[in-house]
């Protein structure tokens, strides 16, 4: 179990860095079709920022920002976004994840629709990866027993 330490240097530096890391992660997710990166990499960076928060503040404070239930919910929502876009392509008579067919639905050119579809899938993947990384780290660091589970 990780508790908060009154280490001034690490606490202050991570306090300043965490918003920038999160924004950078979202940048990597959103610009995945122009530059290196994408859903998985951005999700890993976002998860790393959450892990940094957990490491420096301890779970007692981190749970107000990102509790474990929300992490579980987000991992499911990410997979839902991913699979939902794939199934949507099936419904408009394409293959699974065949974004080009979404052009009729979104009323744009096929190439633009492909770009938008990839963006949506990457957001889903990013959500899922972020919350799964966070959950795995939390489970390993606590041995699977969270404080609120112990109280019950």
């Amino acid at each position: 179990m990780i508790f908060r330490k009154d280490d001034i240097i690490v606490n202050t530096i991570s306090r300043i860095l965490i918003p920038f890391i999160q924004l950078y992660a979202l940048y990597v997710i959103m610009h995945g079709h122009y530059s290196p990166g994408g859903g998985f990499q951005g999700g890993v960076i976002l998860g790393a920022s959450m892990v940094l928060l957990l490491l420096t503040r301890g779970y007692d404070e981190a749970k107000y920002k990102f509790p474990e239930q929300i992490a579980t919910l987000f991992s499911s929502v990410g997979v839902l976004i991913y699979a939902g876009i794939g199934l949507l392509c099936l419904f408009v008579l394409g293959n699974f994840l065949d974004y080009g067919k979404l052009a009729a639905l979104l009323n744009v050119t096929p190439s633009h629709a492909r770009s938008l579809g990839i963006l949506g899938v990457e957001i889903g993947v990013g959500f899922a990866v972020m919350s799964v990384m966070y959950s795995i780290f939390l489970d390993i660091s606590t041995g699977g027993v969270l404080p609120e589970d112990e109280e019950e």
């Binding site: 001034i8 202050t12 918003p19 920038f20 999160q22 979202l26 959103m30």
Partner: protein, 240 residues
């Protein structure tokens, strides 16, 4: 005859002493009253300043500051300024600054942020110069066959006040080769130094003074002290 003269002289001197003592007590009282007046005024000013900071912390201003900063960072990263990417950036920045607006500006600042940034930019070249000279020294230590090192742990109390200036000083010390900040405990720095020369360089306290100058610490206290003393002196001169 002589005895009465002596008694008279003693009485006279006692009266004089009494008078002088009364004057001194009056003077001291006025001085104390003046300082306490100025102190209370200063404290009230500081209190309003701090409470406004507290309000801003819980309120909207902090969020806006974080938002502007992060959006500038996004524009720097993205480099695409069409409507689609700007709106994406707007949404992302909004979400992040909503989630972590209490992180970036967590403590109440003492000085003006613009002056701090300006002074920090001036501080950087000096730090670079320090790093380069210390680098040459450490390279000499490592390459000379006798290896004239003298590792030591030194402790010193700092005069800095806020945690951000502590962190800046600690990171400056760590960035300079040869010295590493091991811990900060209640304002006491524990620094490991590789040789006597770098320890002496750190002991002069120039880096600490410069960091205090960057974060506008110590100079406002100094000015306040001068003003206090000037008022007390003026009062004393008028009484005299």
């Amino acid at each position: 005859m002589e005895v009465t003269l002596l008694i008279q002289a003693a009485d006279e001197s006692f009266r004089l002493l009494e008078k002088a003592r009364g004057q001194a007590v009056d003077l001291l009282n006025t001085a104390v009253k003046l300082t306490s007046d100025t102190r209370s005024v200063e404290e009230r000013k500081l209190q309003t300043f701090l409470s406004s900071g507290q309000d801003a912390k819980s309120g909207f201003q902090n969020f806006i500051a974080t938002f502007v900063m992060l959006f500038a960072f996004w524009a720097l990263l993205s480099g695409k300024f069409d409507l689609f990417h700007l709106s994406l950036g707007f949404i992302c920045t909004f979400v992040i600054s909503y989630l972590s607006h209490d992180l970036l500006f967590a403590n109440v600042r003492v000085g003006d942020i613009r002056v701090i940034i300006q002074r920090f930019i001036i501080y950087m070249p000096w730090l670079m110069y320090q790093i380069i000279t210390a680098n040459v020294h450490v390279a000499y230590l490592a390459l000379s066959p006798k290896m004239p090192i003298d590792p030591q742990v030194m402790r010193f109390k700092t005069k800095l006040e806020s945690d951000i200036s502590w962190v800046t000083l600690a990171n400056s010390i760590t960035l300079t080769p040869g010295t590493i900040t091991m811990d900060i405990h209640e304002g006491e720095f524990v620094v490991h130094a590789l040789s006597q020369k770098v320890a002496d360089d750190l002991d002069t306290g120039e880096m600490e003074d410069r960091v205090a100058h960057v974060f506008m610490e110590a100079d406002h206290i100094y000015i306040q002290d001068v003003l206090d003393v000037a008022r007390i002196f003026g009062e004393m001169r008028r009484a005299a």
